[in-house]
């Protein structure tokens, strides 16, 4: 059975200016041991989707659709039931290792918490297990470090502690929301490597959320590109990078400065900014910034078209988008 299957997930946030559709009609599946990357810029709904999976959305939000974990819909679970799943079957690593650890408790205390809660370990066993976990995530001298407070650790080490907490109960699904954005490239490299090793050894499924196409490309098997709360392009990572189809994906890729590219060339830019989620067009969310947009895009949600084996694009103008090169599209 599919481990996780998400169908038509829609998240609506009630704001002072009206309802904001942070996620609309998102569907994907995740098998055991599979790695999925969610790419998009800030405000595209990727973090909201992750929080919806974890059942951590703010109370002023409404979630519809289905999130099936082992065939059971998580949206129908009570908060008490979710507490047993969260941190146990599904765990999450957050972006800011600084703010997501509690500054007044030792890191040992924070890693032991899920062990005692979900696994029912005694204090002694939890302590031993915590030292093993700290060692596993590569913290030197774990016996001494267990009594450290978060401020005594560097950014990379704090992120390792976050990973240790997430791993403590051997979850089936690990959600990492921009786990390396606040870190240096060399530390990013170490952390991603660690996550990869753990996923491989424990057979966990991974959802990696990032705005960095490079990070996603090197660490995932499947990709989901989000814009304005909706998925615009999905498929196998290698297939997608063979041919980027959706105008947004093409623009995003071209806008990224990449090592080894001619310096004289200007970067391609996507005009405008990320849309306001309150006043999104009824149709395609990329309409206002898309060079191919026509009237139909604004009014009608785009059809999802299979370009090539398991590579799907949601666009009214797929043929045109494929025919014209990126430079031509955004010039």
């Amino acid at each position: 059975m599919t481990l996780l299957s998400v169908q038509d997930l829609t998240v609506t946030l009630a704001t002072n200016d009206g309802p904001a559709r942070a996620v609309r009609d998102l569907s994907f599946t995740l098998e055991k041991g599979e790695t999925l990357g969610i790419v998009g810029e800030s405000g595209c709904g990727k973090s909201m989707a992750a929080l919806a999976l974890m059942g951590l959305l703010p109370s002023m939000s409404k979630t519809t659709g289905r999130i099936n974990l082992d065939g059971k819909n998580l949206l129908e679970k009570t908060e008490t039931e979710m507490c047993r799943i969260r941190g146990n079957r599904m765990a999450m690593i957050f972006q800011e290792p600084m703010t997501s650890l509690n500054p007044v408790h030792t890191i040992g205390h924070q890693i032991m918490e899920p062990l005692r809660l979900h696994k029912g370990l005694s204090d002694d066993d939890a302590h031993k297990e915590t030292i093993r976990l700290l060692d596993r995530v590569g913290i030197p001298n774990p016996k001494a470090r267990i009594d450290n407070y978060p401020h005594q650790l560097s950014g990379g080490q704090r992120q390792r502690v976050m990973i240790a907490i997430a791993l403590s109960c051997k979850p089936h699904i690990l959600i990492a929301d921009e786990p390396t954005t606040a870190l240096d490239v060399t530390i990013q490299d170490q952390i991603l490597d660690l996550i990869q090793t753990l996923v491989r050894e424990d057979g966990m499924a991974l959802i990696l959320i990032s705005h960095d196409l490079g990070v996603i490309s090197e660490n995932t098997e499947k990709i989901l590109v989000m814009y304005g709360g909706a998925a615009v392009e999905t498929g196998r990572t290698d297939r997608i990078f063979e041919e980027l189809v959706h105008p947004y994906t093409q623009g995003l890729f071209a806008a990224m400065p990449r090592l080894g590219r001619a310096r004289s060339k200007r970067l391609v830019t996507i005009p405008g900014t990320v849309p306001d989620l309150i006043s999104l067009p009824a149709g395609c969310t990329f309409t206002d910034r898309c060079p191919l947009a026509t009237d139909i895009c604004r009014e009608t949600p785009p059809p999802v078209i299979e370009v090539k084996g398991q590579h799907f694009v949601a666009c009214h103008h797929v043929e045109e988008a494929r025919a014209r090169k990126t430079e031509e599209l955004f010039s």
Binding site: S154, G156, V185, G214, V215, E218, N219, A255, M256
Partner: protein, 333 residues
């Protein structure tokens, strides 16, 4: 490049040293120090972009603050347009500040939320002495237009703008005095990819239009490669490699540069590549060591690295590296 009479560089930094004293751990113990800058030298010619890269804790931002004369320098010299700024007091610096301005990393923290955009952008003009209101308005409108904002934006407050637009306001504020040098400390790292590209292109356009010189600090190597003519790689308060961007990125002559370049994830490369990985993070800012600064983390380390400090020697025409084994690295490339 020929040796003949070069014009005065816009920025000339010589042997800049900055050590911060730590609080005493006990009443009788000698206080420790953070050795943030240990003799940094470089110069930037007019209209060029000079990039500075390195991990956090390598002294990049300390360097920016010292070049901008925002704090006291221990020793060394910073000459802007040939004029020494180290050792000048606040009043002496003030008229000179019009020539060098700064753009900060966080566009949310660097603009005062209580002031209108007009007031924020006009503020550096105070350094030019008294100036008529009409003239002020004219220059604000002019500079806002050159960064792609509208004239009526002067009435608005920072919260009405997106991150990219705020960074444009910060750039406008830096440009309004027609400075020769702009020091930009991670100006695009808080921005989204599509917005980052807009701001990078804007920085390039402004350089072409006004001939402004950039000292550009970033941890993102791809951004530096895109924007800069010359690059210096810093480690523990020292420049370990310096050269024109093409040379340095294509044939790095210091193992640290090579490792940094290899660590950048590349889209479309598929499964992770084989490469040298760096263990641990930057440590050792609080000790003065014998030998190479990079010895603790270097994969090529040998006895000589622990005994003798490698000098920053030329390895090519304009390419310098501080490594005992530069020749070996260049051979392999």
């Amino acid at each position: 490049m020929t040796e003949e009479a070069l014009p005065i560089p816009v920025l000339e930094v010589r042997d800049l040293v900055r050590h911060y004293r730590l609080p005493r751990e006990s009443l009788f113990a000698e206080p420790g120090h953070v050795y943030a800058l240990n003799g940094v030298s470089f110069e930037i010619q007019k209209g060029k972009s000079f990039g500075i890269v390195g991990e956090s804790g390598c002294g990049k931002s300390t360097l920016a603050r010292n070049v901008m004369a925002l704090e006291n320098t221990d020793s060394g010299s910073v000459k802007i347009l040939g004029k020494e700024v180290v050792g000048l007091n606040f009043d002496q610096l003030r008229p000179h500040r019009r020539h060098f301005q700064m753009v900060f990393q966080d566009p949310y923290g660097s603009l005062d939320p209580h002031h209108t955009v007009g007031r924020i952008v006009a503020e550096p003009l105070a350094a030019l002495g008294s100036i008529s209101k009409a003239e002020k308005q004219r220059r604000v409108a002019e500079v806002l237009q050159s960064v792609g904002l509208k004239e009526h934006d002067v009435e608005k407050y920072p919260h009405e703008f997106s991150g990219g637009q705020r960074q444009r306001i910060a750039i406008a504020r830096a440009l309004i005095t027609h400075p020769e040098l702009i020091v930009a400390d991670e100006p695009v790292s808080a921005l989204d990819v599509s917005v980052q590209a807009q701001v990078l292109n804007l920085l390039k356009d402004l350089q072409e239009e006004f001939g402004v010189t950039y000292m550009f600090i970033s941890h993102d190597l791809a951004v530096v490669e895109y924007l800069c003519d010359e690059v210096a790689v810093m480690y523990l308060g020292e420049i370990v490699e310096k050269g024109c961007t093409e040379d340095l990125f294509r044939t790095p002559a210091h193992p640290y540069t090579k490792i940094l370049l290899d660590a950048v994830p590349k889209p479309g490369a598929g499964i992770r590549r084989d490469r040298i990985k760096l263990k641990g993070n930057v440590t050792g800012q609080t000790e003065q060591r014998i030998g190479c600064a990079f010895q603790d983390r270097c994969p090529m380390v040998e006895d000589i690295c622990r005994k003798a400090k490698p000098p920053l020697d030329p390895v090519g025409d304009t390419h310098l590296a501080a490594c005992h084994f530069s020749a070996r690295l260049l051979e392999k490339a």
